[in-house]
């Protein structure tokens, strides 16, 4: 088995070899480590992407809007991803953002995962029918488990999720009440002798 360290180093060098800068290559190396760690097919997609990289002249993006469309030439997932990550604090204000026509969208995913960590917010991403929930770069929840090459996608829909509870206040109170059963009821004697007894907070 190829180690994650080998995957990172080799992907980094390959990225540089096709013409990206070393700084971008470092990002891609880290991304491939992440994808493979999370069980997504990073190397397979990167390899295929590089085969078409020079001839396709994929499109970059400079400024983001709520809907971004890459005309007939698809977006480069690496340049899009880098710019997304670099500007995510500005992009977040859209709450939702769409990209139409992206090449090899799997390669864009680790940038979203890292953006989730940078923002401290979960990010939900839908690539056509495939869903990915990025949890602060700790885990990726997905309904997509295929190890395949995704050459293109028509639409990527990204939502920045607010940090809200997944449960109701009633549900919280219910479980909190149960937790109270681990506490000891203090009688008068305990109240007198326990740590802090006799002091006021103004001491």
């Amino acid at each position: 088995m190829i180690s994650l360290s080998e995957i990172e180093t080799t992907s980094k060098r390959a990225t540089r070899a096709v013409g990206f800068s070393w700084g971008v290559a470092e990002e891609v190396g880290k991304n491939m480590r992440l994808l493979e760690l999370f069980g997504l097919s990073g190397v397979k997609n990167l390899n295929e992407y590089f085969k078409s990289y020079k001839k396709e002249n994929y499109k970059s993006i400079q400024a983001f809007s709520e809907t971004n469309e890459a005309s007939s030439i698809p977006y480069c997932p690496i340049e899009l991803g880098i710019n997304f990550l670099d500007q995510v604090t500005f992009i977040e204000k859209f709450q939702k953002i769409n990209f139409k026509n992206i090449a090899f969208p799997i390669l864009f995913l680790p940038f979203l995962s890292r953006s989730s960590e940078a923002l401290g917010k979960r990010i939900l991403c839908k690539i056509d029918q495939k869903e990915f929930l990025f949890n602060f770069n700790q885990t990726i929840y997905s309904n997509y488990l295929k190890s395949e090459i995704l050459k293109n996608c028509e639409l990527i829909n990204i939502s920045f999720l607010e940090n809200i509870n997944t449960f109701s206040q009633d549900e919280w109170e219910e479980i909190y009440k149960l937790s109270e059963n681990t506490f000891v009821e203090e009688n008068e004697s305990l109240k007198k002798d326990a740590a802090g007894a006799g002091l006021t907070d103004n001491d």
Binding site: M1, I2, S3, L4, S5, E6, R13, F20, S21, W22, G23, V24, E26, E27, K30, Q62, I82, N83, L85, D86, Q87, V88, T89, F90, R114, E117, A118
Partner: protein
């Protein structure tokens, strides 16, 4: 009294980093302390009469076992090479996670001796190979088989029977990735399992000479005396492969240096030194002279440094005769004197000695010498050009003064050789390949970045600046790292005509705990590890100052 940490602009210069010595913080010393209550066992020793075959050694505690698997092979003299281009070695080793089965050993037998040409799995943690010092090895076997101990004086010239030529870990060639072991409770710091491998290899070398001698002359042969064994270490030949590591791991580098600097600062802040502390310092200082007097090298560069060290130590001993250790802040006063009067090699030598009496200062710093590098990898795109400019001006002040239009300041380049995938260093005006330069010319690229942002608006977010400037992305990242980690960067030009690359190796090796740096050129050197260290069966109770107890 509060003492300031030493200035990174001074400490992180290559000439200073290339003068670092082993200390209490060194990984091989930490390793021995951390594993002293583990159970050592030689579980397999299947060598033929010439000493070729397989051996397994292990350290175990509770449910955990680490096993060194050794493969000793016959090679011809003409095949023996310390260079990385070698394809055969006298012995090859891997540290296995657990107790290897026969199937594991059979699998590894086909791969470990091939080193870079073989494949390992996540069950193997580290990988290495070593060659005999033929002169020493034969002398020892010859003497033991004749019933006598080897000549200690001769052994002291070299200090080991074998020298390793590479020790790999962290996912190389399929080995276990670091994430698999980094959270284990027994792993307190970097390179522990690499140290374990080297330590166990050392024991194998002793067992192997005993075994061969016994087979050569069963009636007369004796075993290598423990005192002699203890004063033999393991050699290592190290080339440029190690140099980029310290550039590529800035937060790790910071944490190593910061631990040393913090320890020194705390020692200098001690108001009163007690007699025991003073005695330990002076005893280490005096005993360590033996290590210097047996520090052999043919390198004029290193000979000069050793001569300077000895001269400076003589100055120091004269000064110490009248020095008042009972006065307030004695170590601070002593430090200020050495900083003013002695050269780099001796300054850093004394710094190491000053840490020796203070377990309570040094030990808590050891666990901070690892780094979770991923945490600091992302570039903060919402920061501004003004922030970046301020960082560059504050943290790279000396580097910004270097004139990179001057050819001599950019004469060399770092590259990866195609045949061995190893880092190399060459003159860009004489050799081909500069177009494939590795991103290790940090000083040059920082200067480029500084010039590039010259006309940018202060308020421009870094994320937007990078849109058009990703060619300098690698140094933008570093600038935001050094902002938090002051010792993360070599404050020097790594491509100038007067760079001595082995200074970078020496820095790393000193943190490993190596001694007797012996440069063989400006690009590779030999060192010795574990010389004077307790033997495995002595670990339960040993003197932590063993490094100064060598009889050689």
């Amino acid at each position: 009294m509060e003492v300031q940490l030493r200035d990174p602009n001074e400490i992180m210069k290559l000439s200073r980093l290339g003068s670092f010595h082993q200390s209490k913080l060194s990984f091989l010393r930490s390793f021995l302390k951390e594993f002293k209550d583990w159970n050592f066992k030689r579980s397999l020793f299947d060598l033929d009469e010439k000493g070729y075959g397989v051996a397994v050694y292990s350290f175990s505690k509770n449910e955990r076992t680490y096993s060194l698997i050794c493969f000793a092979n016959k090679i011809s003299d003409y095949e023996r090479s310390d260079r990385v281009i070698a394809t055969k070695w006298d012995a090859a080793f891997t540290l296995y996670d657990g107790v290897p089965s026969k199937l594991d050993i059979d699998r590894l037998k086909k791969n470990v001796p091939k080193q870079e040409g073989g494949r390992l799995t996540y069950k193997e943690l580290t990988l290495s190979r070593a060659n005999k010092s033929i002169r020493m090895f034969n002398h020892v076997v010859e003497n033991l088989s004749n019933g006598i101990q080897p000549d200690k004086k001769l052994l002291s010239e070299v200090g080991y029977l074998y020298r390793t030529t590479a020790v790999y870990g962290s996912g190389k060639f399929g080995l276990a990735d670091r994430f698999r072991i980094k959270n284990r409770k027994e792993i307190y710091g970097p390179f522990r399992l690499e140290m374990m491998l080297v330590y166990l290899v050392r024991q194998f070398t002793f067992d192997q000479v005993d075994h061969i001698a016994m087979h050569r002359n069963p009636k007369k042969a004796v075993k290598l005396d423990n005192d002699v064994s203890r004063n033999l270490g393991i050699g290592n030949s190290t080339g440029l492969g190690m140099a980029p590591f310290i550039v590529n791991h800035p937060t790790l580098l910071n944490n190593w240096i910061l631990a040393r600097e913090t320890a020194l600062k705390k020692v200098r802040e001690i108001k009163k030194i007690n007699k025991n502390q003073k005695d330990i310092f002076l005893s280490c200082l005096k005993k360590s002279l033996k290590n210097i007097s047996t520090w052999n090298t043919d390198s004029e560069y290193q000979k000069n440094k050793i001569n300077d060290l000895l001269k400076d130590l003589n100055k120091l001993f004269t000064f110490i005769e009248i020095f008042d250790f009972e006065g307030d802040f004695a170590f601070n006063k002593l430090y200020l004197w050495i900083e003013k009067n002695l050269k780099d090699e001796c300054i850093e030598y004394i710094v190491s000695m000053m840490l020796e009496p203070y377990d309570e200062i040094v030990d808590p710093l050891i666990s901070g010498m690892s780094s979770e590098e991923e945490k600091f990898f992302n570039i903060p795109g919402d920061r501004t050009i003004e922030d970046l400019r301020n960082i560059l001006e504050e943290k790279y002040n000396n580097i910004l003064k270097i004139d990179f239009d001057d050819k001599k300041n950019k004469r060399n380049f770092w590259f990866i050789s195609k045949n061995k995938e190893e880092p190399r260093y060459a003159d860009r005006y004489k050799e081909i390949g500069a177009d494939l330069e590795q991103p290790l010319a940090i000083a040059r690229d920082i200067k480029r970045l500084y010039e590039r942002i010259n006309n940018q608006k202060n308020s421009l977010p870094i994320g937007k600046f990078l849109n058009e400037n990703n060619d300098l992305r690698h140094v933008v990242r570093r600038a935001f790292i050094i902002e938090k980690f002051p010792y993360s960067e070599i404050q020097d030009n790594t491509i100038g005509s007067n760079v001595i690359p082995i200074d970078m190796l020496r820095l790393k090796l000193s943190f490993f705990g190596a001694v007797k740096f012996d440069p063989r050129s400006d690009k590779w050197l030999r060192i010795c590890m574990f010389q004077g260290a307790p033997l495995p069966n002595e670990l339960k109770n040993f003197d932590d100052l063993w490094v100064y107890n060598s009889i050689n």
